[in-house]
């Protein structure tokens, strides 16, 4: 393992070597290495196979901005080998090959590239009809990169909230300067960077001929930041998205931070762009900045003899760094006909590196195995889009490319900003940024270090000001002229393999052909070619596509447009976003008592309720026994999940009169009354009871899963009505138990001495306040299950005590708890509907035979107009009770259809075998002419057989209500 000595390799610790596996072989690197740097140090240059043609690919950006380095790490697919630090024992494999990475059997696909024109899958495979499913299967197997292991465990991820006065994303020179300036003004600053160390380009790039400026600036800024208490630095932290109001998602390790960023400075820098020439994707061809990172950060020599191709000053810097690392530079190719003379070019000349001006790379010559580069062919430029046919060949084993730059502007795009590309020069500018957001440094189009630092200071000052820290104006350093730069010419090669998008294996002629086919709108071009739609999301591919489209249509670059950027930026696992997945589950006060009794629990909205008690294999028997004990003796059910709303105020009666269909103005204090709510379309949405506790105070119940919607609806309407009323959602404040059955009065009487429970003093539908076992309680005499019963509502803190007291008091009588299923059965015998089971999204009161619950004497309730129109228009269906008298007939299930003459006339909504009545009963929607009691109809059951049923009058049980009113 050959490494460059210090000062090269600033990120690695040579004292600690770390071993991992790549493709099964043991590889050794140093602490601080990424997988890619360690592999390169060991002479491994091919890291993956490409998406479409399975070409060998190696390091391109060396900073996680391309897809070439996507590898599989154990059960983690598509991980960036140039971002992930090595750890002992990592099991790394390359992706997307059949056979081995070296000998990929699908590499022969490159010979078929002529058969795979752009969008080829739209143009073939669909005739004859049976062909596509076969092709689709094959294409699916070939497509995709990493592998998802079905046994991958749900990893541990968590989340944390962060707040800051000023946030700076990107700790390069602009970001560091901004953070310092804002902190000096008094703001608390969060400085975020995705790398292990702050410094950005100062850590690896070259800003002057002597190669001293970066290091000196870096040291000075880093020291100041370390000394500044108001700056919190978060390294190894990726900002993955901007959301409304500077709400940022940050990822570090296995944690997702959600940051309210205060005033935001985006100093995310820019992406150096690859050049486009034949075989521009061979391992060994990389960005100039990638070569510099390898040398400076990891002490790895990217090659032995380099050709540097550039359109700007930074290529010269890369060439000088290569020389410093002992790499021979065969030549520097400069696209500019007349490159300016400056400190960089002077330094290169002093070191006798030939500079070929006004020329471009035409093709790279691969090594015999195709896994590297052997030489490069260079031709003179003849105008912006044409190269001479004659070329010169230079032997080399690496090429460093310094094309132009594209801004790392994803956060700015997401915040609504726009990037304008200037024609030809490669320059750009950002605008339309919202308040509380500034861009600084090269993301905003400045490149000379002096200007970048000046940008940073100005942005930091503005951010502090916006965050409320008054800042005295300081004189800012004068700006220097930006360095001369040019865009790289895009000249297609007759043999193609001149890649525009490395992720998707798209070549110049693919883009040109798509344009020729008419996919000229930049969005159509992107979608048709999939250019920029791979994992690197167009960081390198978007700009050349825009340039090619503009060339074809004759439009300016900024008219041709830029593609949008959507979150997340950079890789973000589903585990990060999911976090620890807290699902709210609500337990009633009596929850653990149910478990002790062996209850089978079921979800009811966010709550858990006992479905029934006892063994699952005796489910039916358990439910029937629970129900019969209510009919014959006494049972108790936990009704704590019931919704509860307190409605108070002088207009409380009027308010209920408007919200519900019944009449409440004259409801006496101490009485409960049924409530039925319809929406504006006259559809039933909820029900419950309203208890009048005082002239201006009602306690209203609502269904367990409906109460939140009812509460919202009440507030929504009263925002318009402005009645004098307050509505409070108290569902969770109360626990409740309904004790029911002929013997329940004696049980409650044992525990209560302040409410007269006699039927005369406390009749059916009465409401009282008193105490049960010393617990303050609201007593409701209601009868959902059709027996004498008391619903007792107590403070939730005392629910368990209430339950225990009732169970103990009822022990002699044989009290037994019953669950939701027994309650459903009992109420069905009484013919009571359950909202959302016996009603659907269109059920009206008249369809549900609930005209009795509608007051005709009041001027208005929500839905009244609709209900009246529907009533006048006649019914199309009706909910009726039915029974199946044939005891041998198979029992239909809920939602089996009522069929007549092949047409659907309705469906079963509830059905059960009634233990009380000894037959199968149910509720069903039928056609209006099937609703008359005595009418027979047919239900289609599983397997298609028909079962005869007969409409009967409701209720099935205790028609005169004697039992519930006793």
């Amino acid at each position: 393992m050959e490494r460059l000595g210090a000062p090269f390799g600033s990120d690695i610790d040579r004292s600690e070597s770390v071993s991992f596996r790549f493709e099964g072989a043991q590889v050794s690197g140093y602490r601080g290495d990424t997988i890619a740097s360690a592999l390169l140090a060991n002479g491994v240059t091919t890291l993956s196979r490409s998406f479409k043609y399975h070409r060998p690919r190696g390091v391109l950006s060396m900073c996680g901005q391309d897809s070439n380095t996507l590898v599989q790490i154990g059960q983690q697919p598509n991980r960036l080998a140039d971002r992930v630090a090595i750890e002992a024992g990592l099991d790394v494999t390359a992706q997307n090959y059949w056979g081995s990475l070296e000998n990929d059997r699908l590499a022969h696909l490159r010979h078929f590239s002529r058969f795979m024109p752009v969008g080829f899958y739209y143009k073939a495979f669909y005739k004859p009809r049976w062909a596509w499913p076969l092709w689709a299967k094959l294409i699916r197997r070939i497509a995709g990169l990493g592998t998802v292991d079905l046994n991958t465990p749900h990893g541990y991820y968590d989340k944390q909230y962060l707040f800051s006065d000023v946030t700076v994303i990107g700790a390069g020179p602009a970001g560091m300067a901004a953070a310092l300036r804002a902190a000096q003004a008094g703001a608390k600053v969060l400085l975020v960077d995705e790398n292990a160390e702050i410094g950005g380009a100062l850590a690896y790039a070259r800003f002057d001929g002597a190669g001293e400026l970066a290091e000196a600036t870096h040291a000075e800024l880093a020291a100041k930041i370390a000394a500044e208490d108001r700056i919190r630095v978060m390294t190894d932290t990726m900002c993955t998205g901007w959301y409304a109001d500077n709400w940022l998602s940050l990822v570090k390790g296995n944690r997702l931070y959600k940051l309210r960023a205060g005033a935001l400075v985006v100093a995310t820098g820019c992406y150096e762009q690859p050049l486009i020439f034949h075989n521009n994707d061979l391992p060994g061809i990389m960005l100039g900045s990638a070569a510099q990172r390898l040398i400076r950060l990891y002490g790895v020599k990217p090659g032995n003899r380099a050709v540097v191709a550039t359109a700007n000053r930074d290529g010269y810097g890369a060439a000088l760094d290569l020389l410093d690392a002992g790499i021979e530079v065969a030549c520097v190719v400069d696209v500019r006909a007349d490159p300016p003379e400056d400190d960089m070019s002077a330094a290169l000349m002093r070191r006798h590196v030939p500079i070929v001006a006004g020329a471009t790379l035409r093709e790279a010559v691969p090594t015999s195995g195709g896994g590297g580069v052997r030489a490069v062919k260079i031709a003179r430029l003849e105008g912006a889009e044409k190269a001479a046919r004659r070329y010169d060949s230079f032997a080399c084993d690496m090429i460093a490319m310094a094309g132009c730059y594209a801004p790392a502007a994803a956060l700015l795009h997401q915040a609504g900003g726009r990037v304008s590309l200037a024609d030809d020069s490669g320059a750009f500018s950002v605008h339309d940024l919202p308040a509380q957001l500034a861009a600084a440094g090269s993301v905003a189009g400045t490149n000379m270090l002096e200007n970048v630092l000046g940008d940073g200071v100005a942005a930091g000052r503005r951010a502090a000001d916006e965050a409320g820290f008054s800042v005295a104006a300081t004189s800012e350093p004068p700006r220097v002229a930006e360095a001369d730069a040019s865009a790289w010419p895009i000249i297609g090669h007759s043999r193609g393999k001149d890649f525009v998008d490395f992720d998707e294996d798209l070549q110049v002629h693919d883009i040109e052909n798509a344009l020729a086919e008419g996919y000229r709108h930049i969005q159509l071009l992107k979608r048709f070619t999939t250019n920029g739609m791979g994992p690197s999301q167009g960081r390198h591919a978007t700009l050349p596509a825009i340039r090619l489209a503009a060339r074809r249509t004759g439009a300016r670059l900024d008219e041709t447009g830029s593609t949008t950027s959507r979150p997340p930026i950079g890789p973000l696992t589903m585990g990060h976003l999911a976090g620890r997945s807290f699902e709210p589950v609500r337990y009633t006060a009596m929850h653990f008592r149910h478990l002790e009794r062996g209850a089978r629990m079921m979800p009811a909205g966010a709550w858990m309720r006992p479905e029934y008690y006892g063994e699952a294999r005796a489910r039916e028997e358990n439910i029937a026994a629970e129900a019969m004990n209510v009919r014959d003796n006494v049972g108790i059910i936990d009704v704590s999940t019931l919704g509860g709303l307190e409605v108070r105020g002088p207009d409380a009666g009027e308010f209920l009169n408007r919200m519900y269909t019944f009449a409440y103005l004259k409801q006496p204090v101490g009485r409960a009354r049924y409530v039925l709510m319809t929406d504006a379309a006259g559809v039933i949405v909820d029900d419950g009871v309203a208890c009048r506790l005082h002239d201006d105070h009602f306690y209203v119940t609502a269904t367990t899963s409906g109460v939140d919607g009812v509460y919202r609806t009440m507030l929504w309407y009263n925002a318009q009505w402005r009645l004098k009323v307050d509505v409070t959602h108290v569902s969770a404040s109360y626990a409740g138990a309904n004790i029911a059955g002929p013997n329940c009065r004696e049980v409650v009487q044992k525990l209560c001495d302040d409410v007269d429970l006699s039927p005369e003093a406390f009749p059916y539908m009465g409401v009282r306040r008193g105490h049960v076992a010393g617990i303050p309680a609201l007593f409701l005499r209601v009868g959902f299950v059709g027996e004498l019963g008391y619903e007792l509502h107590v403070p939730a803190s005392q629910g368990e005590a209430l339950w225990d007291a009732l169970m103990e008091a009822g022990a002699d009588a044989g009290i037994r708890p019953f669950g939701v299923e027994a309650q459903r059965l009992l109420r069905l015998e009484k013919g009571h509907i359950i909202i959302s089971q016996d009603t659907d999204g269109l059920t009206t009161p008249h369809e549900a035979d609930m005209a009795w619950a509608i007051s005709r004497k009041k001027p208005y309730y929500v839905g009244m107009r609709s209900v009246s129109i529907q009533e006048a228009g006649g019914l199309t269906r009706k909910l009726v009770g039915f029974e199946i008298s044939d005891s041998d007939a198979p029992r239909p299930k809920e939602c089996h259809l009522v069929i007549r003459g092949g047409a659907i006339t309705g469906r079963v909504t509830s059905i059960t075998r009634s233990p009380t009545l000894g037959k199968v009963i149910g509720l069903a929607y039928v056609a209006p002419d099937q609703a008359e009691p005595g009418t027979e109809f047919e239900i289609k059951i599983d397997g298609g057989a028909m079962v005869r049923a007969k409409t009967v009058k409701l209720p099935f049980y205790d028609a005169d209500g004697a039992r519930q009113e006793m």
């Binding site: 998406f51 059960q75 697919p77 002529r114 024109p117 899958y121 739209y122 143009k123 073939a124 495979f125 669909y126 005739k127 596509w132 092709w135 689709a136 699916r140 497509a143 995709g144 990493g146 592998t147 079905l150 991958t152 465990p153 749900h154 990893g155 991820y157 959301y243 409304a244 709400w247 997702l256 959600k258 997401q414 052909n513 020729a516 086919e517 008419g518 996919y519 709108h521 979608r527 791979g534 994992p535 999301q537 979150p567 997340p568 890789p571 696992t573 589903m574 976003l577 999911a578 699902e583 379309a681 659907d840 999204g841 269109l842 529907q870 809920e894 939602c895 089996h896 259809l897 469906r907």
Partner: protein, 413 residues
């Protein structure tokens, strides 16, 4: 190699037909103006030109074709609806989709994968049985399956009873399919343009002229054109465009977000939907997991992404498929859904003579693209409302004659 690709290999140029001409100048008058260059508008244009001989047609699109909800939905196609009207309508759509690649000579990558609507509560089980029964009765391949069936059909599904919302069963619809959404728009656009339809991208409609209760012209940012008939197919902007013609719609427009993962080798064949958890997921032919959830909590005309949405969605996806924990999300976006009170679309007459509407497509518009194009074109050409779409008339909201499809909408609202 299939024959269709050989010509590309043997030709020195690129022998593809030009599928879309440059934006032509506006003519003073068209027989039919179609507002909206998404799948529905383009399909309507194609059917007018191909089957009714009406070719003096302009499609006005304010952005690029298929750039609205056509290009933003998760491309699921199914016919397991709840009402007989819905089932009949979507069943015709599925049968058109099945041969659409050959109809358009453009592969829309239609792949039948099997569609599972998971049920986590007994009420969801009831709704699933209801749908299954209606479907089976009307000849649609649908059935209610239980935990043991799911263990066999989708082995990777988390069927643990310890899950926050254990899975009880599912509505299984074997013909449930996915297709490439863009290709549907492009296929229709290409063939329609070939037949003489003018497709005007980057052309915004700014007003609709109504004279004596009858549509007479359409004004755009490039000038005014006269028209014999006009139809709007602008999901996400339906109310705004209808207002220009003086038509009020009972629509609330709410964003719906979705996201896609990086590409992986195929591991998920089925299309999985959970109404209770607000999740749907499938894996595309490119290997990306395509995922969506519930609509945003409130109406607005904006397609920005939110962090809440994707956090909640991922938490629920991982409850169903915990092995996706290490998969990386690549892109998040939003579309606009036009929700009607009964969760069924609006098609047909508007009260303004010769002005027709195709709207209210909520989260189910893509799967109706071909049938909508066919039947809307039939209506424009004949002046009569086809029986298949008559139940979806706008006037049903005045007459309480709704088509209740809420139970079949795949996501929460």
């Amino acid at each position: 190699m299939p024959f269709g690709l050989i010509k590309y290999a043997l030709s020195s140029g690129h022998p593809a037909k030009r599928f879309l001409l440059a934006r032509p100048e506006l003519k003073p008058s068209y027989d039919v103006v179609i507002i909206g260059g998404g799948g529905h508008g383009l399909a309507t244009a194609y059917h007018l030109a191909r089957y009714h001989g009406i070719r003096n047609v302009a499609v006005f699109e304010k952005g690029y074709i298929g750039g609205g909800n056509t290009g933003r939905n998760t491309a699921i196609i199914r016919s397991n609806y709840l009402t007989p009207e819905g089932v009949a309508f979507y069943e015709e759509s599925v049968s058109l989709y099945r041969q659409l690649s050959r109809e358009l000579d453009y592969n829309i990558l239609y792949s039948e994968r099997g569609h599972f609507t998971l049920a986590h509560t007994d009420s969801a089980m009831r709704t699933s049985r209801w749908r299954a029964e209606v479907n089976k009765h009307l000849g649609v391949d649908s059935e209610l399956v239980y935990r043991d069936d799911l263990a066999r059909l989708i082995p990777e599904l988390n069927l643990s009873e310890e899950a926050a919302y254990p899975i009880l069963g599912a509505l299984y619809h074997p013909p449930g399919a996915v297709a490439r959404h863009d290709a549907v728009a492009w296929g229709y656009a290409g063939r329609a343009a070939e037949l003489g339809v003018e497709i005007h991208q980057d052309t915004t409609v700014t007003d609709i002229e109504v004279t004596d209760g009858r549509v007479s012209g359409v004004v755009t940012d490039r000038g005014r054109v006269a028209c014999g008939k006009a139809v709007q197919a602008v999901a996400g902007a339906s109310s705004e465009i209808a207002r220009m013609a003086g038509v009020k719609l009972p629509i609330r427009t709410i964003p719906l977000q979705a996201c896609v993962s990086q590409p992986h080798k195929p591991s998920l064949d089925a299309i999985i939907v959970s109404g209770s958890l607000h999740v749907y997921i499938s894996q595309s032919d490119r290997g990306e997991f395509v995922m969506g959830g519930s609509t945003d909590p409130y109406p607005r005309y904006q397609t920005s992404s939110s962090l809440d949405f994707i956090e909640g969605l991922m938490s629920h996806v991982l409850e169903l498929l915990p092995h996706l924990s290490e998969v990386q999300v690549m892109r998040q976006w939003a579309g606009m859904t036009d929700m009607t009170p009964d969760f069924a679309p609006i098609m047909g007459e508007t009260g303004v003579e010769n002005y027709y509407i195709d709207a209210g497509w909520g989260t189910w518009g893509f799967k109706a693209t071909p049938v909508c194009g066919k039947r809307m074109a039939e209506m424009l050409a004949t002046g009569r409302v086809p029986a298949l779409i008559a139940p979806f008339r706008l006037s049903r909201f005045e007459n309480f004659d709704l088509v209740g499809e809420k139970g079949a909408a795949s996501v929460g609202h």
